[in-house]
Structures are given as structure tokens and as C-alpha cells.
Symmetry: D2
Subunit: 346 residues, 4 copies
């Protein structure tokens, strides 16, 4: 095997990225080396690419970024016990410490000492990546690499949607990026009664309708709260899945929620958000759940079963596929918002 | 029986209240007439007395206010089946409709059509009050009227505290008005491990210590977040009981919460509150519960059992007792903040 | 209106039933009189018809039996507030007391003082039935009376299925009478991954396959436990829905359950059942839920939404429709087991 | 260090045990070697000692048995990262595989491939024991070794008691061996309202009263079901903690349970148990929870906090302390039933 590989490198503390030739990572005793076959782009990757305030405060350079991926194991460390070269894997991208209170009590998804692939250590926009065996998630060979790659963000949707009851519930999904779109699909295939999708981008609304939304609402054209209240006889929805991170959408979500309803907050606001706590949470007796990452590995098992049964076609959300050295073009498409999920192939 | 009674009347849309002679209320077929023996003062009553923005927007005058009370039944309507004259009762002050989705699915505490005693209809600062049988809560004759009266606000503490696990949990109570003080006591008698009480008023902090707080923190003197993190080895607390409604305290509560922890929000902010949703709820995987009123009647049964077993002495929180025509003096004491619960006797 | 009506009467403490002419029931102040349009037959009705040990110990004669029904209101008592003549209704057949601990804490489905239609008071196999307004469940006029009638037993399936998680779960339904068959359908439309239906009757197994079972297992031909373990790689199923009441099936259900799984017990055994508690519940860390009736009215709202969205066609389970005076023929069919739900029309 | 140690050895497939001189265990790369300071005796150890049917079917000889212990680390394997010689530890005695569905989804206490100390591999009735680092539970040096040793069985009580709500609940503990006695104490310090202890042994009933039981009932003298129903106005208890494993007590527990109540089953019956599923679980809408081991490591954290706060004095349940070579005497005492927990010291 050669010892150099191509990678998307954040070489300097500045916007952009370069395709560089770097060393193939070394494999520690409990690591596996994966030849990356597909890697999808997360909103986080765009923040890193654009080098915004968050990225500046959070990351060190140089760093290979990207964290949603799938590929084939080509080498295993000497203490690896469950995997062998040739296995196909994706990865839980949150490398948890295993020792903190959260890790030891079934809440590893909020580990206090988490390291994230592509942020705290080198990531997946590269020909190879080394990861601890314990975060490698074996994936059936019948699963397309592109689909295997998007299991990670899809897992966010699974985590948010099933954090409470969904069957027979009325559901409003605010924000129809890929995670929101999958959430629409999951609600549909899991027996939700009425599904509202709220999103300003027309292309994404179209996909939301295909994923099964009963009502697609463009908040630039209609008032989503009024629409939801009208359809639900003034009651409001049982469940809000907040996938946008936009302050206005978050507030609308709370206004559209019924008394006693549940909100899963997943979309990340980039600044403080003003909320009417008295009317929207306290008097409503609302349950608000912060959703971070994926439950380890409960969410992954659920994801596996969704793929195996074929109850939901995850690919409906993939709108663009590009070779990985066209990262710049991919970022431009993403910035436009006229896309679902974008997958890079190696 | 005479047909007039004394009552604390909000006669005009202006600050203050008068002691007026008014008609004794008529009893409908499913109502009971209660001779009030004790009535305690809620923060809401002060808002009404002072006629602040909230009161102006919410209430019609003339209105007898006051809603926390206990007394003896002196008359029952013809369709009343469970109660008889001579019974001692307190009352659930939220008169629920019985027909909405929430009422019909075990969530009557967030009834869509709730009417509140002392706000939407005449209240309890009076010699007599008529209430529907269904909200009357029979209370043992061995229970002091003052204690019977405070069951209602105490129920708020019960609801907030037991909305999630409390045994062996570390707990921070922000805001030590009467409800916060009882919450400290409940956490203590229910096996909480470490209890922090955060409150700027020295007198209230003293009561908090008597109720069992391990750490009493004055946020004007120390940083409660730093203190809590130091005591919990940087982990934060498992449970925050937010009883203050102050934006700063709410934000501190979230900062002091451990990843995966639970917040019960009960204190009512009087305006919009800015929150760092990304760091304090989403990345933390927090569970935030809006707490309104009392679970009907689950909370009341719990309250009854706490009184019967004597596991917590509710009276420790009562600091002042006044005749009910000294409402003005009572309001002055309350405004000063140098008090726990104030009870009026008839 | 005439004052006599035809009814299926259990006139004597002996097997069988007669079609008799009896008084049309009087309407109390809070009752509604319903002209029955359709009434379906429950297993309980067959116990009554055959006058088995349970029926002898539980019922007084004379009694009109039958409790699953739908019809049109023709008269309302003077204190009825929500319904009017002309409304179409079905009924929650458990008339709860409203005053016991369970009724007052959201657990009315296990009311201590429940009265059951068709057992403790006259039932629905008649031209008219009087019921308290509070158990009448308004049903859309677009809903077929036969479907409206089966909402009650279908509600049992809803209650049992959604008493825990179902999306992405592997599920085994033991016993495919009507309730089991609907449970198969509910699991399918709510995102279950793999569904096993276990039932000795071939006709019912065929319907189970139509309702969406992945595996239909006849326990007279194959060992269901071995089959389930083989398909699940030895893990067992996440969820067992026990709808048979047969001791052998109950034991098989526990053997087929994975460690940490959930069992909803709904089928009623007619005698004591021997269980291997140590291996099948304790070491497994199983959760076993007794399922009785329907959650009042949470289950009914869910049922309404299932009907409104059309996500499941309840009629697939109806195999026979007969005029109500052919009760004897209906009972013969039922005894044969070669049927799904049998509905009587008036 | 010497290379031989004394140990209680089950040398042959026959009743009894011998004190033998055996090799000190070797330490694997991820193991720690613990010098045992105290080891307490479990009911399981008596089954092994007596070589009953269960032991014959489950164990291989020769085997050092015993699994509840505490001691000091004297050696660590080369890959051990969190512990060092000199640390005091107790141990989770269920060595879980880490790879099965249960281990990967927060349910390791019901791991499919569990190995148990003192049964599947050599145990703790010895001068030294080697255990994987991952099951070693660091214990404060201020904790008495005897108390540190009993954390494991005490954890069973913690798991059973807190598997559902306990504050303000009425609780019946059937069977007052050590685990039952601790459960009484936990219910008391966690706000239970009324606690019933049911146990035929007078000495144990005395300890139950000291632990805080309100009613101690000897089933040889009174009918516990009638007593519980009388005290609870016919309602029954909210929670049954079944710690006896006796079929009759299990049935009584179900009869004493209120509709909608919760049963934690922990005591292990030695044979099949006949239950009235229809009346005692299904019509009651009961929740029955199988309790096995301890939640890993949620239960251990709770236990640590109970020890640290001193809210419950675990030592009240220790009735006998003997040097470990008096295992035979210890077993005789245990057989008599006139004891709480027996601890061996090294």
C-alpha cells in the first residue's frame, strides 16, 4: 500500500479548503483503517469550510474535515476483536470517553469528553480514515455506500423523531434540510396522523411532499402557526420536530404546539434565542427535549432495521453526488440551499 | 343565614383593593358553598392587587380575588353526591372543562378552557365561596385550616419536584419563595443526594437551610453556577427546579445542569427570556418540562399522603398570619420579600 | 315512538339466548338513547351465550347482552350538554365511577367500581340502548356503522400495541382473533420491523398475512419459539402482544422474548397459568403489562385518527355480517373459529 | 508476593466446600488483582454450597465461589488505565460482553453473554481475585470494607425499588432477607408513605421495623393481603417489591396490589409458579418488572450517593461477621434464617 493519500484539508485558519496529499493515518491497537467510499456533507462542514465564528472558536488547523462516511476496512489494529479487513462500515462520529457519568449510565450521546471526527481529530473527506473499532458500525454489503454514509445524519432524524411518541400523533417538522426531510418520512412510516412540513425553500418542500408530508408550508408565503391551528381545530400539534435552528421558526414551533405536547430541538441556533417561556412552555405544560447526536447504539440499531426492511427510502433525500475533489462545487450548491443531501464519492 | 358577606374586592381597574360587603354567592346544582377559614396569598394575588400589565390584560372587574383557601362546607347543590355540609375542603383552583382533548386524556392540568378561581370568577378572599363539587378536595379534620389552605401552592412544588426522578439526584432549586422552599423539603424527604438552594433574600435562605438544603447560595454574593460545578466535580446537577422566573436565574440553572439532566420550569418570567439553546439544551440533551398547576388529582393524592404521614412539616414555610381584612398590610410584607407564605384567617 | 323493542335476551341462567320483546330503556337526566345500527360480537358474548363458569359467577339474569355497537342518538336526557339527537355514536363500554383513585388520576381504565355494558347492565344486542353521555363517543357520519361498532375491540388492540415502543421493533402477536389481527396491522403501519403472527387457525393466519405479518406461524405445525429465535439471530423479539389467553402460547411468548423486552398481556386465560418467572421474567429483565379495556379516552382519540387518516382498513378483519336475530348462527360460526370479526346489523 | 493463597473451593460436584491452597490468579492486560478484605454471602452461594439442582445444572467444578466483596488493588494489567494499586474497589459481578444488543443499548444488566463471578469463573471467597478493570468499582477509603462488600446485593435493592416511582407510594415488601430489608429502608428514606414488610422470620421482621416499616406482618400469623387491604381502604398498595421468590408470597403480592400498580419481581422461585393472570395482572392493568442484577452503572452511582450522604445505614442489616475460613458456620447460620447479611472478613 502506498503511504500518501488525497484529502480535503483545512490547512489554514481561513475560509476554503485544499485538496492535499497527506500521510495515510497510522492504526492504533484498537483502531481500524477504512478506505472511504462515500462521504456526505453536513452543515457543520460548511461552517468549517466558511470558517465562521463557531469554527474559529472550536477548531485547530491543519485538519482533515468531514465525518459522515462509509467504506471498507483495509487494516485492523492488533487488539481489534470484532472486525476484519473487508468489512463494510460507517461510523458513529462521536468518540466517547467511556468513563464519565454519562458514558457509564447509558447516556453516552452526551459524553462530557466527546471527541468528534473531522473537528477534534482528522475526518473523512479523504481516501482513508482511522477510527476506533468501537465507533465503527458494520453495514451490510447489500447497502449502497452512499446510503451507508448518510446513516449518521439520518440517525439524528431517528433520534429526534422517536424521542417520544409518534404513532397517531400530529407532527410539525420545522426546517426541511436532509434531517428534517427524513423526519417527515419517519413520521409517515411510523403512523403519524397529520404531518406539516415548514420550509422556505421550494425544492425542499417538494421533497417533503414526496416523503409524505400532508401539508407543506412556506413561511415566506403563509403563517405556519395559523395554518396548523386551523387544521387541528385550534388544538395545535402533539409533536414539533425543530430542525431549522432559526429563532423565528423555533418560536413558531412553540406557538403551534398543543398544551401538553412535545418538542424535539435539534436545529442549532447560531445565537441566543428569545422565548416566551411563560406562555409557550410553562402554561402549556410542554416537554422540550434537546437532541444531540445519536443514542449509542440504540439509534444505530433502529437505523439498521429501517434500512433492512426498506420501510423508508433514504436516497430520496440525496439530490447531488460529486467526486470528492469537487468539494468547492459541492459547497457552492449547499450554500444555495437548492439541495437535499450532497454525497461525495471517492 | 345572612345574605351578605365581607370580601376583598378588586372594584376598579386600578391598584389596590377594598373590603366590601357583597352578596353571598348562590349555589348551583353541582356546587358547594364553603365558609372560608383560611386563605393564603399567591404571587398572582399581588399582581392583581398592584394591577400590573399582566393583570390588566387578563382580568375583568369587579372581582373578588384570592384562590388558595380551606374551609367548611355549609351548603350543597341538589346534584352534589360526594360531599355534605360539615365537610372540610380545600380546592383545586383550576376549573377544567372536562370535554377538551387534554381533559379527556389525563392532562386536565393543561385544559384548553380552564377557568381560574379569583381570576376568571370570584375567589376566596371572602367569608364564603361557591365552587363546583368536582374541584373541592376533602381534607381531614385533623389538618389545620392554614395547612389545608396551602395545599394548593404546595401542590405546585409536588408537581415540579416529582415530574422526574428525585431520589439520589443532585438538585438545584432556583428561587426560594414558598414553592421553592417546599421543593427543597420534598427533595430532602425523598432521598435527593445534594440540594442547592439559590435565592437572594437572606430570610428565605435561612428557611431553605431549615428545609434541608445542603448549600444555600446567595447569587448577589457568589456565583451559583461555579459553586454547583465545584461541588459536583464539574458534572453539574441532575435536576434543576426553576422557581424564580428570573431570566438570569433561568440561564444559570441551565448552565448548572449536567448533560442529560432535567429542568422543571415553574417560575413565570414576566417577559421574553434569552436562552443559549444550542449549548444549554441541545448539546446537553436536556429535558425541559413546563410545570403548570397540579396534576388533577394525582398531585392532590400525593399531597394528602405527605400531610398524613407528616414526612414534611409544611408550616415551616408560613412566616406570617393576619386577619383577612389586613390584606393591605399582608401585601406590603409580601412586596418586601421578607417572608415565606402569608396566610389570612377569617 | 313505540315503547317495545326486540332484543337478544339472556332470560335464564342457562346456555342460549332468546329474541324477546322488551321495554325500550328509559333515559336518565345524563343519558342518551341510541338506536343501534350495528353491533359486533365479542368473545365475552360467547361466554355469556354458552353460560360457562365465568358467566355463571359474574352475571345476573335476565340481561340483554352485547356491548360493541354503534348507532344514532334518538333522545337525550335533560342534563346532556354535548350531544344531540341525530349524532352518531359508539361507546366506551366500561362505565367508570369517576370518584375512585384510579378515575381521579388518569387510570380510569382500571376503575375500581366499573360497570360493564351487557354484563352489569343491559347491553347492545337490541334495537335501542341507553348509555350515560360520558361514555358515548361521537363518530363521524362518514364512518360505516360496522366500522364504528368495532372501534371498541379495535381499541383493545390500540391499547396493547402502543403501551410501549413499536417503531422499528420486532413484534410477535400470539393469537389472531380480531384483536390480534388488528394488532398486526397496527404494528405494520407504525413502523415495526419484523412481525410474527402465531395462530392455529388457517383462515386467521391468512388474514394476518394480509394485515402485514412477515411470518405466519401455525403452532400445530411449527415451533414458534424456534422460528422466532432463528429469524432474530437468537435474540428474540422486542415486543410480544399476547392476544390468545392460552397458557401454552403465553409461555411461548415469554420464551420468544428478548432480554429486556416488553410483553402486553391482553388475552384472558380461563384458569391459573404456570410461568417460569425466574428465567422468563426476572433474569430477562422483562416488562410485563396487563392490558385491560381502553385508556379513557386516549385510546379513542388514537382510534379516531386511525380511521380518519385511513392508515389501516379495519374492515379487513370483518368476515361475517348477519342480521341481529341470527345471533344463534353467528355464535355457531364463532365457535368454529373460522372467522374474524362478526358484525350484527339491526 | 507469595504465589499461593487460601480460598473456599468447591472441589467436587457434591455438597460442602473446602478451604484449599491454590494459585493466586494471573492478571490479564485489562485486569486488576484485588486483595479481598471482606466478602458477604449471597443466597446463591448457599445453593452452590448445598449443591442443589440449580447448582448442579449451572456450574463446573472446581470453582472458587463467592462474588460480593471489597478489597484493595495490588496489581494492574498493562492496559489498565483508570485504576492503580492501592485503590479500594468493589465489583459489579456480572461481566458483560460489551458487544451484544443489550450491552450496546444501555441494557447491559441483561447481557446475553454474561459471565458471573463465582459461578462462571473463580470468585471472591479467597485472599485474592482477578477481575476485569471494567467491573471494578472504585470505593472511597472512608467506606468500611464490610459496607463496600455489600454494595453489590444492596444494588439489587436499589434497582428493584427505583424501577418505578416510590415517593408518596404505598409499598409492600414481600420477603425480608437482606435485599428486602434494604428495600424497606430505601422506600423509607425516599418518601414512601406507608410501608408493609411481610416475612415469616421474627428476627428479620424486627430489623424491618428498624429500617422503617410501618407494618410488619408475619404471614404465618396473619393474612398479609387482608391486612394491606384494610389499611389502604381496600385500594391495595401502589408498589410491591417481591424479594422472597416464594410462590405463595408472589400470589399474595399480586392480590395486595392496587389496580394500575407496579410489581418489581426480584426473588427467584426455584420452580414454576401458578398465577391468576386474568385477575391479578390483566384486569388490574398491572406493570410487572423483572429485576436482574444492577443497572450498569446507574445503580452503582446511586449506591455511591446513598453511602456518601449517609441517608441510609446499610450496616443495620449485617447481623454476623466471621473470618472467611468459618464458611461452614456461616452457612449453618444462613440456613437457619436467623440472620440478616453475613459478612466474611479476610
Amino acid at each position: 500500500m502506498q503511504d500518501k493519500m488525497k484529502a480535503v484539508l483545512k490547512a489554514e485558519a481561513a475560509p476554503g479548503a485544499t485538496i492535499a496529499l497527506v500521510d495515510i493515518p497510522k492504526v492504533g491497537p484498537r483502531d481500524v483503517l477504512v478506505q472511504v467510499k462515500a462521504a456526505s456533507i453536513c452543515g457543520t462542514d460548511m461552517h468549517i469550510y466558511e470558517w465562521d465564528a463557531w469554527a474559529q472558536s472550536r477548531m485547530q488547523v491543519p485538519r482533515i474535515f468531514g465525518h459522515e462516511f462509509a467504506g471498507e476496512i483495509v487494516e485492523v489494529g492488533k487488539d481489534v476483536t470484532e472486525l476484519v479487513p473487508g468489512d463494510f462500515v460507517a461510523a458513529e462520529t462521536h468518540i466517547t470517553c467511556g468513563h464519565c457519568y454519562q458514558c457509564q449510565t447509558g447516556q453516552a450521546h452526551v459524553c462530557r469528553n466527546v471527541q468528534i471526527l473531522g473537528i477534534d481529530r482528522d475526518g473523512a473527506f479523504a481516501e482513508y480514515i482511522a477510527i476506533p473499532e468501537k465507533v465503527a458500525w458494520k453495514t451490510g454489503k447489500e447497502i449502497d455506500h452512499m446510503v451507508a454514509s448518510i446513516q449518521e445524519p439520518f440517525g439524528n432524524a431517528v433520534h429526534a423523531t422517536f424521542a417520544g411518541e409518534i404513532a397517531q400523533m400530529t407532527v410539525a417538522v420545522f426546517g426541511c434540510g436532509p434531517i428534517g426531510l427524513w423526519a417527515v418520512g419517519l413520521a409517515r412510516t411510523s403512523g403519524a396522523s397529520t404531518i406539516f412540513a415548514i420550509e422556505p425553500n421550494a425544492m425542499r418542500l417538494d421533497i417533503a411532499a414526496k416523503m409524505g408530508a400532508d401539508y407543506v408550508l412556506n413561511p415566506r408565503e403563509v403563517d405556519p402557526v395559523q395554518n396548523i391551528l386551523a387544521v387541528t381545530d385550534g388544538l395545535g400539534v402533539d409533536v414539533v420536530l425543530e430542525m431549522s435552528g432559526h429563532p423565528q421558526a423555533i418560536r413558531q414551533g412553540f406557538k403551534a404546539l398543543r398544551n401538553g405536547g412535545r418538542v424535539s430541538l435539534l436545529g442549532l441556533p447560531s445565537r441566543m434565542v428569545e422565548l416566551d417561556l411563560a406562555n409557550d412552555i410553562i402554561f402549556k405544560g410542554a416537554t422540550v427535549l434537546g437532541i444531540s447526536g445519536r443514542r449509542i447504539f440504540d439509534t444505530w440499531y433502529r437505523t439498521r432495521r429501517i434500512l433492512e426492511t426498506g420501510q423508508l427510502d433514504l436516497k430520496q433525500v440525496i439530490t447531488h453526488t460529486l467526486p470528492f475533489d469537487q468539494i468547492q462545487e459541492a459547497m457552492e450548491i449547499m450554500k444555495s440551499g437548492n439541495c437535499g443531501k450532497i454525497v461525495l464519492t471517492m
